[in-house]
Subunit: 293 residues, 2 copies
């Protein structure tokens, strides 16, 4: 087993983002701004937000945190979003999910100005991404793309893992990970299999996959019940809090004697996700200021 070190790759990308932001500041006097919104006081969400704010500081993005009551109505959240939409210091708006009332989610996301939608979950951005055909077009059009799948693509690219013609098995079909990842993988000419809780023949699918992405949120989900080829690349998106600490969706005891490459938890996909938030904020800033790269 070989480890794909997400922390190290993220560090490289962050250093690049930091340099770009400094250069823009030197020329224009402007700095990208990211607004974060936390509704309520979920402990895990607070930790995520804190690490996002810290990452902003590291690269020179100004962050504006908004913590509002867990009882906030949908209207109250949307009012806050509208204020942030019209604030010119703010280039990106991140609404921390899940909301205490999940039925508010899509309406609140829809209220975010698509040019400030750094999570890439507004229908306009989601649709634009889905309609683009090649990776080159996606990069050229500067579309805002959900951070975790974008981070996975960069992780693979930095690790020199070619995707064209490869069979990529994505386990999980969420809007945040599985669905946009399928589109991104297709754009790099991978054959894409999307499996999920209703899939009955997952053991047959793992056997033919060149790359397996596990995003189900269940510790030890990918275990000895599933055969894996030699040289398979495994991307573990799970972040599960157990009594023994943080772990992913892959059973490391099963994997560790196999001839595969894998992202660890922590230190794999997580740092890449946060880094892509910084990258999207910079992208939004560039788009809004019509800066030519």
């Amino acid at each position: 087993m070989k480890i794909i070190n997400g922390r190290q790759i993220a560090k490289h990308i962050k250093s690049d983002i930091k340099t770009k932001i400094k250069n823009f500041k030197d020329i224009t006097g402007k700095t990208p701004g990211l607004a974060t919104i936390l509704v309520g006081s979920n402990v895990a969400s607070k930790i995520y937000i804190q690490s996002k704010i810290k990452a902003c500081q590291e690269v020179g993005i100004q962050s504006f945190h908004n913590n509002i009551s867990t009882q906030s109505s949908q209207d109250a959240i949307i009012r806050l979003i509208n204020d942030l939409n019209s604030n010119t210091l703010i280039n990106g708006i991140l609404l921390q999910l899940p909301l205490p009332d999940k039925t508010f989610t899509q309406n609140c996301i829809n209220a975010i100005n698509p040019v400030k939608d750094v999570d890439g979950l507004h229908p306009v951005n989601y649709g634009k991404l889905s309609l683009l055909k090649s990776w080159n077009d996606i990069i050229k059009e500067n579309v805002l793309i959900p951070c975790t799948p974008l981070g996975i693509m960069h992780l693979l690219q930095y690790s020199n893992i070619q995707l064209s013609g490869k069979t990529v098995l994505i386990i999980g079909r969420s809007n945040l990970v599985g669905k946009p990842l399928a589109i991104l993988m297709l754009s790099q000419n991978a054959t894409v299999i999307t499996a999920h809780s209703k899939t009955y023949n997952l053991d047959k699918l793992t056997k033919i996959a060149d790359v397996i992405i596990v995003a189900v949120g269940i510790p030890n989900f990918l275990n000895k019940n599933y055969n894996i080829k030699d040289n398979t690349v495994i991307i573990d998106v799970g972040i599960n809090r157990t009594v023994d600490g943080l772990c992913g969706d892959v059973d490391f005891n099963y994997i560790q004697n196999k001839n595969v490459r894998i992202t660890p938890v922590p230190g794999g996909v997580g740092p890449m996700t946060i880094t892509m938030l910084l990258s999207n904020t910079l992208k939004a800033f560039i788009n809004q200021n019509k800066i030519n790269l």
Copy 2:
């Protein structure tokens, strides 16, 4: 081999659409209107447009045809679209593809008011569809969905083919068919494999598929080189004009002694696609008139 008769299923759905339109007319005095736009004089496109106009007549949709010069600029096409956007007699706008200049395509589609986008190719509609999770939500939200994949879903539903947990192999990743079909299949809990010209192991994938959708536009593409399980359902989306007449992407000689179900060409997916255009026009009419079904 058993034939899935698309013509017959389309007839049932059209009869239902016709009744609904008559009822709405009796109550409101209004009729749905569909504008078709043909740029240039491509023969195949003319045939498609004619059959769409004829289908509109059959169910009581008023059609407004616009044929403009093959040299029309992007601005000229968009001006026409804007006129149709503001015409209250028109509920749906269909821009016949391909355009003589393909680089105009997405900009012209983006100019269509999303509520009149009966092809479901505007980023807003594409994004909305992609973000919805279950088939029930998709139906409830009245999203406009590309006609061919929507027709395939109805074809399977009318043929009592359950999709939950099934392995669906989609060959082809176009914006019109493969990509939205993957989303629709996921919404009905299928495991989805998207393959295409860069896929190297298609012979392994056909063997594990319960449903195979072929949308590549190559006669006899699915042939004896590919093993197919007993009871596989094959949906042939190809419409290829050869010296021997119209044919699909499946080699019928190979398939005809197998224990499978298949849609023929012509008479399979084609009639369903046109029927879904009628259904989308009715849906757009209902959405625009805020009629409660």
